[in-house]
Symmetry: D3
Subunit: 67 residues, 6 copies
């Protein structure tokens, strides 16, 4: 029954990668905590790099600077 | 003053349906808990079926399998 | 399969009221959008009034002022 | 290390405004709570006005009525 | 730089289990998406079973019924 | 009408500090984006250091190591 929300930058992650991520997190929760995989929900949010800030600046800006 | 976030799969929900959902949830919180409808906020997130996982696989994949 | 997160102030809401709220929101999503109630998840967060701000001040402070 | 999520309506906020918002919130957390700006994360969600409800109706509808 | 929020019911999960969950999710994001583990943030919310609903009723109630 | 959620570690932040944080974020959104402070909502979540992971380990563990 766990609910997992994963936020990553929008960077061309493929459908196959998302499917593997969902499978991996669900398996992890079953293995470590005994959670039922059938009712585990995982939602992936892909966020524009203009809308994601770290260190006080956007990821877009950091990448322009080579950070 | 309640804040409600509703996540559903992106499946062609209409503007009229969203309006009814917002009205219904707001009324429910007023009726059951006495919350002031004027300051009740409801945000609906529509999530791509590739980004929503349940049972360890994406909703896209489940639908292809007829689940 | 919808996921709903409801945030309210921590004000002595009873277990019975929470149960009714969960039932009501789940029914609403089934009635309005045809969502399967069996897989609808609702999580209620009760937030301390010191940690909830509106209008630039905490709810605790607003209540002291009779707002 | 704080994590901040800001939800606003999708209203043509510019990249420059988002950058200033990220910088401002990060500085505020450093100044008020001594949080390390280098690890402060800020994510801005821009929400369609059809998907944002307040007072039991969508923001789209409220604007049509001049509220 | 990913941000992960995991919500589980409050069921006596140990500090060691939480540490393994954080480590596992972080490793998964590095392995599958090449994300930098140093800036991956994972937050675990443990939710009271009275506040978690599925199938229109609280987890507390479902457990009493042996579901 | 913005909604802001701030997650910080549970470290004895005072009621006065929270009030200043709520006031500061609300003012920032008014100054930068012209948002109405009266309807700006800010919710602060204080998270146990056992439940917050960064770099693949809990904040509790990092502090023990002097990171």
């Amino acid at each position: 029954m766990p609910f997992v929300n994963i936020k990553i930058t929008k960077d061309g992650v493929t459908t196959a990668q998302k499917a593997k991520l969902i499978e991996g997190v669900t398996t992890l929760l079953a293995d470590l905590l005994g959670k039922n995989p059938q009712s585990t929900v995982v939602i992936i949010d892909e966020v524009d790099t203009d809308n994601w800030g770290i260190g006080g600046e956007t990821v877009t800006s950091r990448r322009h600077k080579g950070k």
